[in-house]
Symmetry: C2
DNA sequence: TCTTATTCCGAGTAATTTAATCGGATTTAC
DNA sequence: GTAAATCCGATTAAATTACTCGGAATAAGA
């Protein structure tokens, strides 16, 4: 029940890019340095985020990544789904309901299925309620402190 | 972000025991058969549940497991925690807050930590809201149908 | 007392998933 | 032309999960 590094690094990278978007495209090398993660590994993650339409990449020298959407419209849930696929604590939630379901076939009557359904919904609702934009404003105060040269 | 088989089987076993508690101690052999899981594997899970105080075991022939508490006071969250430890999507939530935290040291000021904190809290709240007793009553209607000989 | 049914326990292993790593191709600013 | 980037696919290493196995201890019932 841990969140994978994909999701954690993905969120960290998106937040990093959002924070530095005023200085032009953000190169992965810098993200990797600031967030202390492997640049090569980040590459993989970014390709998922790009395919999902959350960032746009600019190749070549001075290139990098920029947000492809308003940060207010990108949620942590979106990022997690881009990194890991649908939020579903058990596989039977993904199969279509009814007799075709290869798992138990009982679909929504299954009380155990409903446990994990509820769990998944509450995770999604929590993560979807957090936008990149809100994370950036939460980060703002400490950034000001930092600019004054104080220790964080 | 999948739930482990430990948690799934653990919940299934507890529910099975709760349902069959009127017929005396419930042997794992029967649970394993009904739930279609390895008896040996279940053994391991039951020892966690016993140590956590949710079931009591009776050894020897005609032995088995019985609930150690009122099913209304046992939640799915309790079972999951017994199987997997604290519900914490990231490890830094487990470390004590403040400078001693070996992860980022920033404790509650860390915006990313707060994401996963919120996620963990919403999982816990969802799972803690479901008691074994409520699952049993949800299961009741289909049981009646079953007893009338209808197909479930 | 013997047999059988059961829990208990710890060690070992197989399978899967996660988390990277690596090498090189492609693109573009300067 | 060169350096700084992204892009892409393959491979590998590490960790976790999901079991399996063998046998000891316990207790009921004949």
């Amino acid at each position: 029940m841990k969140v994978s590094t994909k999701s954690r690094y993905g969120v960290a990278a998106m937040l990093d890019i959002a924070q530095h978007c005023n200085d032009g495209p953000v190169a992965l090398r810098n993200v990797a340095e600031r967030q202390q993660v492997s640049e090569h590994y980040l590459e993989q993650l970014m390709s998922s985020l790009r395919n999902a339409g959350y960032v746009r990449s600019i190749r070549g020298a001075q290139g990098g990544y920029v947000l492809a959407k308003d940060p207010a419209t990108i949620t942590v849930g979106d990022i997690v789904r881009a990194m890991e696929g649908p939020i579903a604590p058990v596989d039977c939630l993904l199969a279509e309901k009814g007799p075709a379901n290869p798992y138990c076939g009982k679909s929504e009557q299954c009380v155990r299925r409903n446990i994990w359904l509820k769990m998944g919904e509450s995770i999604a609702s929590a993560l979807d309620s957090i936008s990149l934009a809100s994370l950036c404003t939460d980060l703002q105060p400490s950034k000001e402190v930092e600019e004054r040269g104080e220790q964080v």
